[in-house]
Symmetry: D4
């Protein structure tokens, strides 16, 4: 259920165009649907601005399909992450119009897409960071943001990012995806006065300790304005950036 629909219903009640009984009917659903193995959080779109997102690992394909169905009923929007082939097949079997983003390992559905607003820029340090960066981009897009990307611009060749310096400040928020030493977030954070969401990746080996190294690097960033999400959490990075982007864009629209 989108927030707009809620306002519509309540306004209709206020104006007398809708009886209390009818409104109650539509609102009657509990804020969650108990599927037994899952309590689908129907009101999250209302409460947090986007339907519950399906994190696929650990769920059976039939469970994923059932949750996807239930979520898509609310407003025709869907985002499923970390989807392997079984998950893709399961969702496609019930929602054939769902789109599979292969490198991002994500599935999206948006039956009434709105015009993207604002700007979120996604950067990544190396080619191997692409799956996570793409997850961030797909997520931000799913949440309504216009997105741009600057890929493979790690700090060992600092001119690669400096050449795009001007462009960076046009974004409402930036997502910086980097593995190995993860220093890109600090460099970007020092160049702009925008929120930088840093996403460490597990790209690397040895003393990267599966992403611990860039995670610590980013948490210790001496550039203010940098905040961090979990290792490989492209979704979280894209979501947080899109949240800021929407707030800024909404402010502009309101006026």
């Amino acid at each position: 259920m989108k927030k707009e629909r809620l306002v519509e219903i309540l306004s209709a009640v206020q104006s007398g165009d809708l009886t209390v009984a009818s409104a109650a009917g539509e609102l009657a659903d509990l804020p969650f649907t108990d599927l037994g193995f899952a309590r689908v959080d129907n009101h999250r779109a209302l409460r947090c601005g986007f339907p519950e997102v399906i994190f696929c690992p650990g769920k059976l394909p039939e469970e994923i399909a059932a949750i996807a169905m239930r979520l898509s009923e609310g407003g025709g929007r869907l985002l499923a992450t970390r989807a392997d082939q079984a998950a893709v097949d399961a969702i496609r079997s019930v929602l054939p119009d769902a789109v599979h983003h292969e490198r991002a390992r994500a599935i999206t559905l948006d039956r009434e897409p709105a015009e993207p607003t604002g700007l979120v820029i996604v950067l990544c340090a190396g080619t191997a960071d692409l799956p996570v960066a793409e997850e961030a981009r797909i997520t931000a897009t799913a949440l309504g943001a216009r997105t741009e990307t600057i890929y493979d611009c790690g700090v060992a060749g600092i001119h690669r990012i400096l050449s795009d310096r001007a462009r960076l400040s046009s974004a409402n928020a930036l997502v910086v995806v980097a593995g190995m030493e993860g220093a890109l977030a600090s460099v970007v954070g020092g160049l702009v006065d925008r929120p930088v969401i840093a996403v460490p990746t597990s790209v690397g080996y040895g003393a990267s300790f599966s992403g611990l190294a860039p995670l610590l690097t980013m948490l210790n960033s001496c550039a203010a304005g940098v905040t961090v999400v979990n290792i490989d959490n492209g979704f979280g990075g894209g979501y947080a950036a899109a949240l800021v982007n929407r707030l800024v864009s909404a402010s502009k629209e309101v006026e």
Copy 2:
């Protein structure tokens, strides 16, 4: 140097009100001043929206004083964090009008304070988290945000935060400060559609491992929209929240 002043100078040059020579004079400073032991980053206010902030530990009192002097020259604004008594004395000796915030261990100076805008809410889980929460609040204030606080509302008494639920959504960004298990960030993140900056603290003992426990909790938050800064980094939390707040407020003002 504030951004406004830069625009002013350049416009004056464009309009012929200022000779290139005079403009050059004012702009002549390198983007940093080399004090020998420190390269003060003069243009950061321009580049990142706020003058360089003094992180006091590890600097000699006389160094702190010299940096504070140089920074304050740019625009009469200053923020120094983790200031012990020696740092306070050093700054006060050169900037007697600087304000010491004891619990926050911070020093601020703002000779031409603007009206605070927007809203940043700072929450903390327990009384022992206050120093970090206050550092966040002072920082957000120094960066121009209107702030409110909800303190001692940890999840073991969940009604304490639920009673303030409505208020939470009025903020442009929230800072959630928590030690021990740090679960508050997830609960708050699940209640609002606003960016939540989570600040783990070293409050606790044993398996908190000096803040590692809440840090991991927050990084693994199942609530989207939660991003994390370093342990005890109230400054970072307040800064990131204020950055979002300013972007949103600026959007509103512009229209």
Copy 3:
């Protein structure tokens, strides 16, 4: 050997209904049977209230079968955990009436099931936590507890657990299973005056460090009454809860 049988034997000796020799015969078994590769702890049912449980990993199928046979001789009860298909086949080949619980990866046998008593509630935060939660439920059931479940009620949608608040206090003990940030244990612990056994799971990725994050969260819980078992140890959680449940139920029955 069940405790009741021991009391029976000793009483019969006391009353003269049984000769010392006969009693000795039945009691003659050493407290353990040495199978060479395993010392089956025959008296554990007596000492600890339930026969030794078979933890399958690392044992050869034929060893599992042999131990299962020996244990089941004592009283017709059996619990084997972490059973893969080879373990299932091995046990079924010697005990065809053993029951395989697929999602819980457990095998049980109870030839003289008693009426379940009391109440243990098992909660889990997400669908991916189900295998561990089910292991807890099966274990508690095997130890004689009546059980209920509340699944997929993580803290990011706090209303999902609050809606079941009243029910929580009817349990003698609760098992809270959660991965990722594991905050559910604290929230539940703050709502009831019952022992909460927290079971962290390895569900998650990156900075969850295979369950370290929820483990630390739960150990640092600010809600008193929460105790913790090993990561993914649904068995341990169910066992401890059932132990409390039996003590409470037994007290009631005695009067």
Copy 4:
């Protein structure tokens, strides 16, 4: 507010002995009192069976005194842990009848002590574990349990605990406090069919890593029925044991 008092009030309303207005007056307090720096959780006694406990570290002495005052108003009971001399002085200044338990670093007040019920046994492995063990004992006592202690019975001299074997099974719950390798919990857990709450301590050096070693030992205990709390958390161990003890004792009393 004790639960009994609540039932009393509601019964009086039901019977007409108390007007709704009067009852409302007494119940009027919010479930928490906002002291600014702390939100005192007044209803916790009702919800969780004991007033909020004051964890002293990180709180200013005047804050501790104010919280202690507010808590003690509810029912004359108080427990403050990790109290240093300043905390002791602060509480004594407002509650002169509060008792200081030096080795346990705890302060208690119980103006209407009830008869202790059931039995909680507290064991510790070495003399250096005494402060934590005593904190557990004081806490269990404060929550109404009868307590006994078996101190300095570490596994390197296994006969020390075996000699007390019979006694162990008379407890409703046991608290096992141990540092260094923490093996005592497994040994005790293997001897009884009662809940064992294991409390690792930071006693030791080197590879004990401030209590990490016994924490891991206890979490990996091969004895079922052992659950674990945070390092040095004598309070948590005593609380959980007392919770079980009260449930068992209450069951007995009810009949």
Copy 5:
């Protein structure tokens, strides 16, 4: 080359039974043979009492075969550990009389076996620890020790080890192999006045962290006389115990 052979040669030179030239011929080998990919340490039997042992992982099958050949030339003795099927096949192809110990994953060859001396007892806590325990036993045997085993005697059923208490003191050294919480080493160490070599295993899950838990337990053992080797290092445990055993036995023989 065995030490005895060296003494023989030198004595023969001394007595004139062997020319210096002939002796030089036999002794001519460098203390190591450079195979290019490996420098086989020929004199180790002389220096350390046993030929170099082949640790198979990371070596190509043909390398293993070549090293095995070269080592076996010195005295007809060989020990290879962690041998997978390819390693077994490689060694068998050049040394068909080598023996494969399947559960121990070891290969031995001893063409002139001496009478085993002294006594080394190998204990393990659970059935899953058997591969490591067997590696210890095979190693000790290869180094000339008489061995006995007590398997599956973990501390959760303490009577299983106490029943063998008397036997323990008859050993010159004991190897205690245990995973999970690893408490067995402390209990055994407290029962005997013999060196106890503790071998932690990676048996377990979750907070065992692949053997870290029993490793720390054993390092923190409060029983003096317990020393520790690497996780799963059955070879190291057996070797150290056999070294002690040989010293003690040799002393006896000398007299």
Copy 6:
């Protein structure tokens, strides 16, 4: 583009042999080529002395091929590391003359090989360290160094390294590759007055923690002159040694 070519171009411009336009043409390339998924750093040979190196993991085969093509255009030199079969096939399909070094898992191309200069010695402790040692050797060779190797000379047989002591000091730099306890770096570092680059490997098991043990050993080396690179980073070790070697050789040549 090699540095020599740049000097050539600029000299030709200076001397009038080349028009500015022609020079500009050749220099026109941006310092990086944006392939979309990768920003190939063309000027790195100029800036850092060697073309960008391809780290294969995480890149798609077609991406690897494209980058290899682009890099080889600059000067006919190429180095790709951690190449699996797919990577080898991809590069060979576009650069059939590229050489695959199987044990080193590396691919090289050098169409105009210069005479190797100076000397880099690569040592490794055990046979299992060979893949990493070979990666170091291949890398150093690719960067123009003459190389020698001393393999399988771990400290448990200290005479194996002492026998080569004189040779060690003839190198301009040494690469010491070792897993398990990694002590070889300290011993070598104590024998020479040359830079020693220590490369820890993940060879080992248990408490080697995938190379953490030798990493820490090497970082704590009491022998000055030892510096360390990432676990298994043979490339980094060979690169740093070759860098020193080139500087020293260049100095000699210049005179």
Copy 7:
């Protein structure tokens, strides 16, 4: 009670020289004395070959004095480790003839010293390791071993240990104490065919992580025959070495 005394008593009973009653009197003591805060393990000398040792930290001075008194009654022998000045004063006040070893931080008492037997050599890598090495030496001496020391012979100057090579093999056991990278244990282990007890120390900084680095080094030693005790546990190292030494010496004496 020394073992000899026990044999004496029992023999006297056998021969009729002592009545059963008298023997019982002497043997009447429980195997431990319960001092309330401590259960002094009287029979440890019998069971493990040396009276219980007092580990001072965490014990109150008066407790230390009481335990020391009780232990010294058994046979006039005493060893207390990690004794600070308060502990020294406490013991001296009740046992004025106790000896304080300042650098070793140990206190010993041996009223009927026997002739030292065998040989234990204690080595340490650096001067800063002396307190731990001395604790090992004092402990081994207290347990009856003849001891020698080789101090400050770290591997960065390998000739320092090689010059003493011959002497090393004369010991029954060696204790190698080293901090920083801890490589000395492997080098020594490779030179002798004697048990080497490795004691890591917390000497060092940074990535030594308070002794973790040498601990891991030693656990991963590629030299067989090396076993390890806790960080800074000179006592444990000396005890284990002395245990071996006594076994070997006893064997010699028996013949």
Copy 8:
């Protein structure tokens, strides 16, 4: 003993200017002097190019003085690091002309200083890194290098380092000292084709984990040519850089 003196002696023997006896006299010293508590490594200047350096922590003042005396006898050169006031006083009492470098916490003596050669540049990220950076500079100077410094040029203000870019390539080796996220090493490493020695510092808090964060960052540097030393090991960084510098300079001189 300087290498030059050794060559002199041997040449004199060769030429007949010095009798073998006299030469033997001068060379007679063992390669180390055994002071009991320390084995001073006299030949290290010969073997490694600089006398043994005194690492002060853990040594008694009188020991430091004795070692300093002995070392200075060899050639009038001395370097002592991590010197507290007691160490300074001890050395000054025997070597009054020793120089104390306060911020670097170092003491040097060089009675026959040679002309500094080559160039080592020391960079640090922040003012708080100065003590470590200065230790590196003093060390490099003591080893004969000409040094320059670029301090407080962290990556959050990337222009601060870019402005010095040209200068960087004039160094033979660079030492990059940085705490917090330690990203400076990668940026510098990407700008030059010179060896970069990265020194992580413990500057920072929280998730810097006492320098672990920058250590991991530097080890994972994607810029080739970067090698790493221990946390806060300014000495090691300066030493390694000076070693390279000397090799390069020596090459130049030789021609």
